[in-house]
Subunit: 153 residues, 2 copies
Protein backbone atom coordinates (compact mmCIF):
# COMPACT_ATOMS: atom_id res chain seq x y z
CA UNK A 1 0.00 0.00 0.00
CA UNK A 2 1.40 3.41 -0.84
CA UNK A 3 1.73 5.89 1.97
CA UNK A 4 0.75 8.97 -0.04
CA UNK A 5 -2.39 9.41 -2.11
CA UNK A 6 -3.73 12.35 -4.09
CA UNK A 7 -5.50 13.57 -0.95
CA UNK A 8 -2.16 14.04 0.81
CA UNK A 9 -0.99 16.85 -1.49
CA UNK A 10 -2.50 20.26 -0.77
CA UNK A 11 -2.01 23.60 -2.45
CA UNK A 12 0.91 25.43 -0.89
CA UNK A 13 2.54 22.34 0.62
CA UNK A 14 6.32 22.66 0.54
CA UNK A 15 9.07 20.10 1.05
CA UNK A 16 12.81 19.74 0.61
CA UNK A 17 14.59 16.53 -0.41
CA UNK A 18 18.24 15.56 -0.52
CA UNK A 19 20.98 16.67 -0.20
CA UNK A 20 22.99 14.97 -2.90
CA UNK A 21 26.56 15.75 -3.84
CA UNK A 22 27.04 16.08 -7.60
CA UNK A 23 30.48 14.84 -8.61
CA UNK A 24 32.63 15.72 -11.60
CA UNK A 25 32.66 12.02 -12.54
CA UNK A 26 28.89 11.74 -12.85
CA UNK A 27 28.65 15.02 -14.78
CA UNK A 28 31.17 13.77 -17.32
CA UNK A 29 29.63 10.27 -17.48
CA UNK A 30 26.15 11.66 -18.20
CA UNK A 31 27.56 14.04 -20.81
CA UNK A 32 29.55 11.30 -22.53
CA UNK A 33 26.41 9.23 -22.89
CA UNK A 34 23.73 11.85 -23.62
CA UNK A 35 25.08 15.34 -24.15
CA UNK A 36 28.68 15.36 -25.41
CA UNK A 37 29.11 19.13 -25.66
CA UNK A 38 32.51 20.51 -24.58
CA UNK A 39 30.95 22.52 -21.73
CA UNK A 40 29.79 19.29 -20.09
CA UNK A 41 32.73 17.04 -20.89
CA UNK A 42 36.06 18.68 -20.49
CA UNK A 43 37.33 21.38 -18.12
CA UNK A 44 39.81 22.95 -20.55
CA UNK A 45 37.30 23.21 -23.37
CA UNK A 46 34.56 24.32 -20.97
CA UNK A 47 36.43 27.48 -19.96
CA UNK A 48 35.85 28.91 -23.43
CA UNK A 49 32.09 28.24 -23.32
CA UNK A 50 29.13 30.22 -22.08
CA UNK A 51 29.44 28.71 -18.58
CA UNK A 52 33.15 29.51 -18.15
CA UNK A 53 33.89 26.09 -16.72
CA UNK A 54 32.62 22.54 -16.52
CA UNK A 55 28.86 22.36 -15.93
CA UNK A 56 26.43 19.46 -16.06
CA UNK A 57 24.02 18.99 -18.94
CA UNK A 58 20.65 20.60 -18.31
CA UNK A 59 19.12 17.17 -18.85
CA UNK A 60 21.39 15.76 -16.18
CA UNK A 61 19.95 18.19 -13.66
CA UNK A 62 16.44 17.07 -14.71
CA UNK A 63 17.44 13.42 -14.26
CA UNK A 64 18.85 14.17 -10.81
CA UNK A 65 15.62 15.96 -9.89
CA UNK A 66 13.68 12.90 -11.00
CA UNK A 67 15.81 10.68 -8.78
CA UNK A 68 15.32 12.97 -5.80
CA UNK A 69 11.55 13.06 -6.43
CA UNK A 70 11.46 9.26 -6.65
CA UNK A 71 13.39 8.73 -3.42
CA UNK A 72 11.73 11.68 -1.73
CA UNK A 73 8.07 10.73 -2.13
CA UNK A 74 7.10 9.24 -5.48
CA UNK A 75 8.02 5.63 -4.73
CA UNK A 76 5.93 5.89 -1.56
CA UNK A 77 2.93 7.29 -3.40
CA UNK A 78 0.08 6.18 -5.64
CA UNK A 79 1.70 7.99 -8.60
CA UNK A 80 0.33 6.99 -11.99
CA UNK A 81 2.90 8.99 -13.92
CA UNK A 82 2.92 12.38 -15.58
CA UNK A 83 1.85 13.43 -19.05
CA UNK A 84 4.85 15.72 -19.37
CA UNK A 85 6.47 18.86 -18.10
CA UNK A 86 5.15 22.37 -18.55
CA UNK A 87 8.38 24.25 -18.54
CA UNK A 88 12.01 23.62 -17.73
CA UNK A 89 14.32 26.55 -17.04
CA UNK A 90 18.06 26.05 -16.77
CA UNK A 91 18.92 29.12 -14.71
CA UNK A 92 22.41 28.46 -13.37
CA UNK A 93 25.15 26.00 -14.31
CA UNK A 94 25.32 22.74 -12.36
CA UNK A 95 28.91 22.75 -11.07
CA UNK A 96 30.84 19.69 -9.92
CA UNK A 97 31.00 19.52 -6.14
CA UNK A 98 27.65 21.20 -5.59
CA UNK A 99 25.45 19.77 -2.87
CA UNK A 100 21.99 19.99 -4.36
CA UNK A 101 18.55 19.78 -2.82
CA UNK A 102 15.13 19.48 -4.41
CA UNK A 103 12.51 21.96 -3.23
CA UNK A 104 8.89 21.26 -4.08
CA UNK A 105 5.73 23.33 -3.88
CA UNK A 106 2.22 22.14 -4.69
CA UNK A 107 0.69 24.72 -7.06
CA UNK A 108 -2.63 23.10 -7.83
CA UNK A 109 -4.68 20.04 -7.09
CA UNK A 110 -7.87 18.84 -8.72
CA UNK A 111 -9.91 15.68 -9.05
CA UNK A 112 -10.41 14.07 -12.44
CA UNK A 113 -13.90 14.14 -13.94
CA UNK A 114 -13.25 11.34 -16.38
CA UNK A 115 -11.34 9.12 -13.96
CA UNK A 116 -12.79 9.23 -10.43
CA UNK A 117 -10.06 6.92 -9.13
CA UNK A 118 -7.38 9.52 -9.73
CA UNK A 119 -6.52 13.16 -9.10
CA UNK A 120 -4.08 15.62 -10.59
CA UNK A 121 -1.41 17.46 -8.65
CA UNK A 122 0.63 20.25 -10.21
CA UNK A 123 3.99 20.73 -8.54
CA UNK A 124 6.90 23.12 -9.02
CA UNK A 125 10.31 21.56 -8.50
CA UNK A 126 13.44 23.65 -7.89
CA UNK A 127 16.93 22.17 -7.89
CA UNK A 128 18.90 24.43 -5.55
CA UNK A 129 22.50 24.70 -4.38
CA UNK A 130 23.82 25.13 -0.82
CA UNK A 131 22.93 28.85 -0.88
CA UNK A 132 19.41 28.20 -2.13
CA UNK A 133 20.13 29.51 -5.64
CA UNK A 134 17.90 27.83 -8.18
CA UNK A 135 19.91 25.86 -10.75
CA UNK A 136 16.94 24.34 -12.60
CA UNK A 137 13.22 24.75 -12.13
CA UNK A 138 10.40 22.80 -13.71
CA UNK A 139 6.67 22.41 -13.29
CA UNK A 140 4.81 19.18 -13.89
CA UNK A 141 1.40 17.67 -13.23
CA UNK A 142 1.36 14.25 -11.64
CA UNK A 143 -1.50 11.77 -11.82
CA UNK A 144 -2.11 10.19 -8.43
CA UNK A 145 -4.47 7.47 -7.30
CA UNK A 146 -7.12 8.55 -4.79
CA UNK A 147 -7.21 7.05 -1.34
CA UNK A 148 -9.43 3.98 -1.41
CA UNK A 149 -12.05 3.63 1.33
CA UNK A 150 -10.47 1.93 4.31
CA UNK A 151 -6.88 2.71 3.36
CA UNK A 152 -6.46 4.86 6.47
CA UNK A 153 -5.22 8.45 6.59
CA UNK B 1 34.95 26.58 -37.26
CA UNK B 2 31.37 25.35 -36.89
CA UNK B 3 29.54 24.41 -40.04
CA UNK B 4 26.14 25.75 -38.98
CA UNK B 5 25.37 29.25 -37.74
CA UNK B 6 22.10 30.94 -36.75
CA UNK B 7 21.65 31.99 -40.40
CA UNK B 8 21.46 28.34 -41.46
CA UNK B 9 18.18 27.66 -39.62
CA UNK B 10 15.06 28.94 -41.34
CA UNK B 11 11.42 28.77 -40.33
CA UNK B 12 9.85 25.57 -41.62
CA UNK B 13 13.14 23.69 -42.05
CA UNK B 14 12.69 20.01 -41.25
CA UNK B 15 15.19 17.24 -40.64
CA UNK B 16 15.33 13.67 -39.36
CA UNK B 17 18.20 12.20 -37.34
CA UNK B 18 19.02 8.67 -36.25
CA UNK B 19 17.91 5.90 -36.23
CA UNK B 20 18.93 4.54 -32.88
CA UNK B 21 17.85 1.23 -31.40
CA UNK B 22 16.74 1.54 -27.78
CA UNK B 23 17.62 -1.58 -25.83
CA UNK B 24 16.07 -3.04 -22.71
CA UNK B 25 19.48 -2.83 -21.05
CA UNK B 26 19.81 0.91 -21.46
CA UNK B 27 16.21 1.51 -20.36
CA UNK B 28 16.82 -0.40 -17.14
CA UNK B 29 20.26 1.19 -16.58
CA UNK B 30 18.85 4.71 -16.91
CA UNK B 31 15.94 3.87 -14.62
CA UNK B 32 18.20 2.32 -11.98
CA UNK B 33 20.24 5.49 -11.87
CA UNK B 34 17.63 8.22 -12.28
CA UNK B 35 14.04 6.98 -12.22
CA UNK B 36 13.66 3.73 -10.25
CA UNK B 37 9.91 3.30 -10.72
CA UNK B 38 8.68 -0.25 -11.35
CA UNK B 39 7.35 0.64 -14.82
CA UNK B 40 10.89 1.46 -15.96
CA UNK B 41 12.82 -1.21 -14.10
CA UNK B 42 11.20 -4.57 -14.13
CA UNK B 43 9.00 -6.37 -16.69
CA UNK B 44 6.91 -8.29 -14.18
CA UNK B 45 6.13 -5.23 -12.05
CA UNK B 46 5.65 -3.07 -15.17
CA UNK B 47 2.72 -5.16 -16.40
CA UNK B 48 0.60 -3.88 -13.52
CA UNK B 49 1.39 -0.20 -14.25
CA UNK B 50 -0.18 2.40 -16.49
CA UNK B 51 2.01 1.38 -19.44
CA UNK B 52 1.19 -2.35 -19.24
CA UNK B 53 4.81 -3.33 -19.73
CA UNK B 54 8.38 -2.09 -19.45
CA UNK B 55 8.78 1.46 -20.76
CA UNK B 56 11.68 3.90 -20.54
CA UNK B 57 11.61 6.87 -18.20
CA UNK B 58 10.29 10.01 -19.84
CA UNK B 59 13.57 11.67 -18.91
CA UNK B 60 15.42 8.90 -20.69
CA UNK B 61 13.63 9.74 -23.92
CA UNK B 62 14.61 13.39 -23.40
CA UNK B 63 18.24 12.38 -22.86
CA UNK B 64 18.18 10.26 -26.02
CA UNK B 65 16.73 13.20 -27.94
CA UNK B 66 19.57 15.37 -26.63
CA UNK B 67 22.13 12.84 -27.85
CA UNK B 68 20.53 12.67 -31.29
CA UNK B 69 20.43 16.49 -31.47
CA UNK B 70 24.10 16.68 -30.49
CA UNK B 71 25.24 14.11 -33.06
CA UNK B 72 22.78 15.34 -35.66
CA UNK B 73 23.72 19.01 -35.81
CA UNK B 74 24.52 20.69 -32.52
CA UNK B 75 28.17 19.68 -32.27
CA UNK B 76 28.66 21.04 -35.79
CA UNK B 77 27.00 24.34 -34.94
CA UNK B 78 27.71 27.63 -33.18
CA UNK B 79 25.27 26.65 -30.40
CA UNK B 80 25.58 28.71 -27.23
CA UNK B 81 23.13 26.58 -25.27
CA UNK B 82 19.47 26.85 -24.42
CA UNK B 83 17.74 28.63 -21.53
CA UNK B 84 15.35 25.74 -21.10
CA UNK B 85 12.48 23.84 -22.63
CA UNK B 86 9.00 25.19 -23.22
CA UNK B 87 7.06 22.00 -22.96
CA UNK B 88 7.73 18.29 -22.83
CA UNK B 89 4.93 15.86 -23.62
CA UNK B 90 5.34 12.15 -23.01
CA UNK B 91 2.75 10.83 -25.44
CA UNK B 92 3.57 7.14 -25.85
CA UNK B 93 5.69 4.70 -23.85
CA UNK B 94 9.28 4.15 -24.99
CA UNK B 95 9.42 0.39 -25.48
CA UNK B 96 12.58 -1.71 -25.51
CA UNK B 97 13.56 -2.67 -29.07
CA UNK B 98 12.13 0.48 -30.65
CA UNK B 99 14.16 2.05 -33.40
CA UNK B 100 13.75 5.76 -32.74
CA UNK B 101 14.40 8.80 -34.89
CA UNK B 102 14.47 12.48 -34.04
CA UNK B 103 12.37 14.77 -36.24
CA UNK B 104 13.00 18.49 -36.02
CA UNK B 105 11.13 21.51 -37.32
CA UNK B 106 12.23 25.13 -37.02
CA UNK B 107 9.26 27.08 -35.62
CA UNK B 108 10.79 30.51 -35.26
CA UNK B 109 14.00 32.40 -35.73
CA UNK B 110 14.95 35.87 -34.57
CA UNK B 111 18.03 37.97 -34.03
CA UNK B 112 18.90 39.21 -30.55
CA UNK B 113 18.64 42.95 -29.88
CA UNK B 114 20.83 42.87 -26.82
CA UNK B 115 23.46 40.52 -28.25
CA UNK B 116 24.13 41.18 -31.94
CA UNK B 117 26.58 38.26 -32.13
CA UNK B 118 23.82 35.75 -31.56
CA UNK B 119 20.38 34.72 -32.72
CA UNK B 120 17.57 32.60 -31.32
CA UNK B 121 16.10 29.56 -33.00
CA UNK B 122 12.97 27.87 -31.69
CA UNK B 123 12.73 24.22 -32.67
CA UNK B 124 10.21 21.46 -32.12
CA UNK B 125 11.72 18.03 -31.57
CA UNK B 126 9.72 14.81 -31.94
CA UNK B 127 11.05 11.43 -30.90
CA UNK B 128 9.27 8.97 -33.21
CA UNK B 129 9.13 5.21 -33.61
CA UNK B 130 9.42 3.17 -36.83
CA UNK B 131 5.80 3.98 -37.75
CA UNK B 132 6.28 7.71 -37.17
CA UNK B 133 4.24 7.73 -33.94
CA UNK B 134 5.43 10.47 -31.61
CA UNK B 135 6.74 9.07 -28.33
CA UNK B 136 7.94 12.37 -26.87
CA UNK B 137 7.76 15.91 -28.17
CA UNK B 138 9.43 19.03 -26.84
CA UNK B 139 10.02 22.59 -27.94
CA UNK B 140 13.12 24.57 -27.07
CA UNK B 141 14.83 27.78 -28.10
CA UNK B 142 18.52 27.53 -28.91
CA UNK B 143 21.00 30.40 -28.79
CA UNK B 144 23.27 30.30 -31.83
CA UNK B 145 26.23 32.41 -32.83
CA UNK B 146 25.78 34.45 -36.01
CA UNK B 147 27.99 33.81 -39.00
CA UNK B 148 31.04 36.05 -38.74
CA UNK B 149 32.04 38.03 -41.85
CA UNK B 150 34.29 35.89 -44.00
CA UNK B 151 33.18 32.57 -42.51
CA UNK B 152 31.74 31.42 -45.83
CA UNK B 153 28.22 30.20 -46.46
Amino acid sequence: MPKLYWEDFNIGDKAVYGPRLVTREEIVAFAAEFDPQPAHLDEAAAVATLHGGLAGSGWHSCALMMRMMADGFLLDSSSMGAPGVEEVRWLEPLRPGTQVRLRTKVLDTRSSNSRPEMGLTRIRYDLVDEAGTIITTLTSTMMLGRRPPGAGA
